[in-house]
Symmetry: D2
Subunit: 333 residues, 4 copies
Amino acid sequence: MIIHLKAEVTKEKAEQLGAELESIVLQREGFFALISSSKGKSIDEKYNQFIVERFPFEDDMQLASKKYINGVREIKITDSISIGGNNKNTLMITGPCSVESEEQIEQCAALCVELGVKVLRAGAYKPRTTPYAFQGMGLAGLKLLDKMRTKHGLKIITEIRDSTHVNEIIEYADILQIGAKAMYDHGILKACGKSGKPVLLKRGFGATLQEFVQAAEFILSGGNDKVILCERGIRTFETKTRFTLDLCGVAYLKQYTNLPIILDPSHAIGFAYGVADLSKACVAMGVDGLLIETHPNPAVAKSDAAQQLNFKQFRELYAELGAVANAVGRTMI
Amino acid sequence: MIIHLKAEVTKEKAEQLGAELESIVLQREGFFALISSSKGKSIDEKYNQFIVERFPFEDDMQLASKKYINGVREIKITDSISIGGNNKNTLMITGPCSVESEEQIEQCAALCVELGVKVLRAGAYKPRTTPYAFQGMGLAGLKLLDKMRTKHGLKIITEIRDSTHVNEIIEYADILQIGAKAMYDHGILKACGKSGKPVLLKRGFGATLQEFVQAAEFILSGGNDKVILCERGIRTFETKTRFTLDLCGVAYLKQYTNLPIILDPSHAIGFAYGVADLSKACVAMGVDGLLIETHPNPAVAKSDAAQQLNFKQFRELYAELGAVANAVGRTMI
Amino acid sequence: MIIHLKAEVTKEKAEQLGAELESIVLQREGFFALISSSKGKSIDEKYNQFIVERFPFEDDMQLASKKYINGVREIKITDSISIGGNNKNTLMITGPCSVESEEQIEQCAALCVELGVKVLRAGAYKPRTTPYAFQGMGLAGLKLLDKMRTKHGLKIITEIRDSTHVNEIIEYADILQIGAKAMYDHGILKACGKSGKPVLLKRGFGATLQEFVQAAEFILSGGNDKVILCERGIRTFETKTRFTLDLCGVAYLKQYTNLPIILDPSHAIGFAYGVADLSKACVAMGVDGLLIETHPNPAVAKSDAAQQLNFKQFRELYAELGAVANAVGRTMI
Amino acid sequence: MIIHLKAEVTKEKAEQLGAELESIVLQREGFFALISSSKGKSIDEKYNQFIVERFPFEDDMQLASKKYINGVREIKITDSISIGGNNKNTLMITGPCSVESEEQIEQCAALCVELGVKVLRAGAYKPRTTPYAFQGMGLAGLKLLDKMRTKHGLKIITEIRDSTHVNEIIEYADILQIGAKAMYDHGILKACGKSGKPVLLKRGFGATLQEFVQAAEFILSGGNDKVILCERGIRTFETKTRFTLDLCGVAYLKQYTNLPIILDPSHAIGFAYGVADLSKACVAMGVDGLLIETHPNPAVAKSDAAQQLNFKQFRELYAELGAVANAVGRTMI
């Protein structure tokens, strides 16, 4: 349940009420709110004097629910880059799986500049499943991304692998990416909740939609409104493709949550051959953005070699996506 | 392995060779072909005198494989309705889950006529999971569908639930629909293989892509080239939606098979709210058709009440889909 | 809802009531029962004069539910072979995947006789996923099984693949096996419902427990009380093993249904190496039987070569299972 | 590939070789080993002078593989408590889901003492899926566990939720538990690799067996040999039970890895009714231990209320498990 307190309730009083009602206290614009589990006890009437409005929920989708905010939250990446709200933007984000070298990331940044893509993606800390493969460049990779930002005016999104380097990412990135394997990580979720920066939260490939939105609730209830959901494929019995992009789930999220949605078809299918068709499908659904992996030479990529598009493939796709976006009343930015 | 025999090899000789090589004998245009398991033994060189060409495959996707026919088979529903091949048609098929009464199916037929939709869908034998719910009108339902065909010039697609009524469906339908629960049914697959009519084969919701295509191989190797694949959602751990539409799988099928593909977003999500967005996604992928459930009054439908669109919803969607189709170079028919 | 009618209600009257209440009419011992969907309307009080007792259910697990019969139904395979009820028998069933030849099935039958195993399993109609592999010996296979029954006094269980040969199986088998791929097949379920013979119903590998029990309801409501549930592995994201044996599901079925349960670890794992350990696990759960594949020479088996035990392996396992059964208060028969 | 270097190769030289061959350097007993990805390049023959033996692997199951150590590693929890190796012990671990209060954990400790159970489990940092529920007592909970160790001579296992408190757990626990949601967490895996303490690694419920073993490789290659695998249920389409205990997977791990295995049936099924039967199944498989949740009053538990056994249920179960263990040649400790 979310409880909006009266404007005159002080922070101290709100915290006292929060303790009494086993609730999280959250500062909203001009007032405090209390949030407690949907399974929490009912509130004694003696508290009514402090309360403006109550929002009961059947489950723990609360701040993210359309029942709380009936629309899509607008998230400003910069003053001029915005998704959600009433705008009809679909944001393109592209770049390689991993930063591998200055030359490689420079080529990717140049591609962005050439096409007008505003956000560059690349991983510095890679959540590999084996210790015996390339683990990412770490801090050196972050510094290369920072250089691209300064040099080319690009915004940077990069992934937090685990809690040990979350502060580094918060320092270097414009959008904080929480990877699929880290979706349940309280350490990361709480740090992102305090960061104030836009957070792109990827759905764990074994996570239900309910759990996915609840992970977003950790960030939202931590005080950060800027949460973007990212569907990137779930694990199913089908193994001809790497994962299964859950567009039924995206329809559900659009219907029931107030958060913008960005899709990652590259990780979902895991093979370059299907990325173009899936990207068109995603854009036709009217989502708020796409995350597409590109690499100057995918065959020699140190991670995710099979799924990255080469630059020629990406240029062709990007040209086609604008028409699809327009057909559903949206604009690729 | 598929072996093309020389044109002068007679049917008797082909059958003798088939027996010796543990192969299925299939009549092609102007010659016979032998098909044996990919795991079959290698062919003795004494057979070379009868052989024109060999197509070895690593698995049992053979007649359906792009390695055998590098393109998409054209399937003519009528002289004027065709999908696949070099045309860029996306065929709309709509109608209720079940035939419930003459009045109800007449209303649905009238909607098709109004909008120019050429193929009417409705089930007469329903594969319900419980014996205690409506099981379909059976033969009486087929006769009502026949009446709609005669009266309105519509083509009819309806589902075969089990082998006991397969001949009735072959008699009454223009396109034979094999339902998801019947995908592995040898009795149905073999009867469809001999029927000569177009077959829409739905993927079992627990079936791999490999098994799905192999089910198509039963029909193709039975002598019927007119097989359409239909993805309608697979069963995953996510239960907020009824099934998970596998568009990664569709990308795979487009890449590796030569069969046209029709998508069924209604059954995939199981709720009307997401059908429009998913339909646009499907069309943007460049598939050959859509199967959408509509009902004059979904709330009182005897089956699948939650997922059927009402006529107003369908009219709006149908108008929007044309623009998406055009954006990817296709035409809704 | 199940409604027990008064003993004086005639068949004609019961059928009239069934029609009025949209219910299935089922003859019980000494009276008639009506069964309608759990979602059916409430019954007008004017019917109270005919009714002895009502059993409302929240879902369509009805005749199979422990809320209807609070215990496990006893199923007699013969006068001397019985499972369920108050006996604590765990029935061993073994034999090859497929009947391949008289010599092969004779060897398997001899193994049963040697060890005192009473029921021989083998398939004559094989539900293969590809048309290009061995499809089973068909009727000739059934006749060989019949010969083993006559010669060795064994009981026979064999699988119904599709509705086209269901009557043959009913004629030749002592226990009718409905395979995993046929679990939803109305044609088979209805024929088995009328057959009067014990039916072993395998869970579809993509079927929920709810659907599994509902498939049993088709047979039970068709008039046949002798239904045995068989868990044989479900399809999950894990592919190192062929399927995933769902023993949590077995615990659920034991808790909520009144049907005996037989487990098939061979098909679940798909590899001989794990069959012994899994069989012990199954027996320790206190189930009513096991179905284990054995073959005189698994390496040359025409189907399921990887998972069949050779005779030496089976002899060792069978000796060990008795001790496990005893440890949980049961007896291997 | 694992490469055993000659005993005379110094640490400095080993590290130089490691850098040249893109390998992890691992100190073994009396020599150094290099481990590189199975996909790594072949080794130039000039290195042969330093090499004693090579162990090539097709995938990245290396140190954990039976191809490397053909047996089960023995792991000593204390001098007198040991699992794996040639002993046939099955270790019981029990306790509540969460430490909730001193009184509650004292009662649980007393139960252990009463029955001779040597290891107490309880969580202090709970990986809840929602921010609005009890998150665990944190450090205060660890201190209560420490008190139980001192007072009752019990060994303590407790869970690491994320990297932020990994050092606390290493300080307070005798066995470090990596929870299912943290299985991929590099920060935790690396810290455990350096800790020297026994680690119980739970399989992520969406993780393949391959990924599970690879997570163990992070710890093993970090220098810690004491890794125990724990299967606790995977997520499947079946939702009547909370998860699906993957005993086929356990059979696979026993066949292909050299690590001891402990099973957690409580979390798998998620309901107390099935825990006894599943526990017997696990013990009958011959595994190295069980993790069972018990609570003095499950109905009021702050987490996992549905699945915890009460003390009466646990006492009965514990008495029965000994007989099952004996039937398969093992001893409950």
